[in-house]
């Protein structure tokens, strides 16, 4: 096996010593790269030295001082390697501290995300509450603008129920002409009927045809309602805010008044008995 000493290797290793500029360039390199580079140099130098020593037994050395040079380089590289290993050890400790800090950063990130989620939830709840409150205020304002006296509403309710519209009178039997709605004759005998002079058309089958044609009811069969009085022109007036209108017509009967009085206590008082 012939081992050839390559002077170029020594030259290149020597060249790496000199310039500060290349050292500066090397300083930018990572510690790992520098370590590997020095290790390569160590490998090459040690191989060269061994090969040189092996060669020197048989042949004459081409350059007498080269073995010393190689040795010096080897020692230098070894020193560098040791220094770099110390630096690497320090960097390892710093790396551990950085790992702890990274864990702490992760924890803070998750805390911030949690806080963000809670804030978003609170914002949603508050926005909903504000919206609902605004809607309620609108409703309150609308109700105030359209307020009606409770007395009037109660009076209306009483009048509606007093006409037997919600419940038949207690003495009602089949054949009784009274109905919970205004009958044909009642309509005709009211204001509209008198004003229009409507012809009779026999729609209401309760009465004999003559009486129907005449538009009059026999007295016996005339239904008697609480709101009816001698003055038939009094009818239901349209609702009106805050006015005490003709809910109590001039000729109102005492029966109606009694019903109003008894309404709150007796649930069946809404249907008043006529006759």
């Amino acid at each position: 096996i012939f081992i050839v000493v390559t002077p170029g290797v020594v030259t290149s290793c020597l060249a790496q010593q000199q310039p500060e500029a290349t050292m500066a360039a090397l300083a930018e390199k990572s510690t790992k790269d520098r370590l590997l580079s020095v290790l390569d140099d160590l490998e090459v130098l040690s191989r060269e030295l061994i090969e040189m020593l092996a060669l020197s037994r048989g042949q004459k050395l081409p350059q007498p001082g080269e073995d010393v040079q190689i040795l010096d380089l080897l020692v230098q590289r070894d020193r560098e390697f040791q220094e770099l290993m110390e630096v690497a050890q320090q960097q390892g400790k710093v790396h551990q501290e950085m790992q702890l800090l990274e864990k702490e950063v992760e924890k803070r990130d998750s805390d911030i995300q949690q806080l963000q989620k809670q804030l978003k939830e609170a914002e949603h709840i508050l926005a909903t509450a504000v919206y609902q409150a605004k809607e309620k205020l609108k409703s309150i304002d609308k109700a105030r603008r359209g307020s009606i006296s409770s007395e009037e509403i109660i009076k209306y309710a009483h009048r509606i129920s007093a006409s037997n519209a919600v419940c038949a009178p207690l003495n009602w039997v089949p054949g009784d002409p009274r109905r919970p709605y205004p009958t044909d004759l009642e309509m005709r005998s009211g204001m509209l009927g008198h004003m229009a002079n409507l012809p009779t058309n026999g729609m209401n089958g309760h009465l004999p045809g003559d009486a129907l044609a005449a538009g009059r009811l026999p007295d016996v069969l005339t239904p008697h309602y609480p709101w009816q009085s001698s003055d038939v022109s009094v009818g239901m007036l349209p609702p009106h805010h805050g006015n005490d209108f003709g809910l109590e017509p001039p000729g109102h009967n005492k029966e109606n008044e009694d019903d109003v009085e008894a309404m709150s206590t007796d649930s069946s008082s809404s249907s008043s008995d006529s006759d």
Binding site: S30, S46, H95, L101, R108, D111
Partner: protein, 72 residues
């Protein structure tokens, strides 16, 4: 002479193996992927991050909530 060559060859092979092992160990060492200066910079950045985030959390946790007016 031949035996010496063989011994040299053997020793060289051992040296090569050792150096390769050293290379693998260096490659697996943590924290040396950057230069010391870069690493110090990364460390400072991380410390600053932790400080900022702590401040932010502290600020929001101690944020003044609603001032409920007292009924007169």
């Amino acid at each position: 002479m031949d035996k010496d060559s063989q011994d040299v060859h053997q020793e060289l092979a051992k040296l090569k193996a050792k150096i390769q092992e050293a290379r693998e160990q260096i490659s697996s060492m943590p924290g040396i992927d950057s230069s010391p200066a870069e690493q110090q910079q990364q460390l400072a950045t991380l410390r600053e991050q932790v400080r900022t985030k702590n401040q932010l959390l502290q600020k929001y946790k101690s944020l003044c909530m609603f001032d409920v007016p007292k009924a007169s």
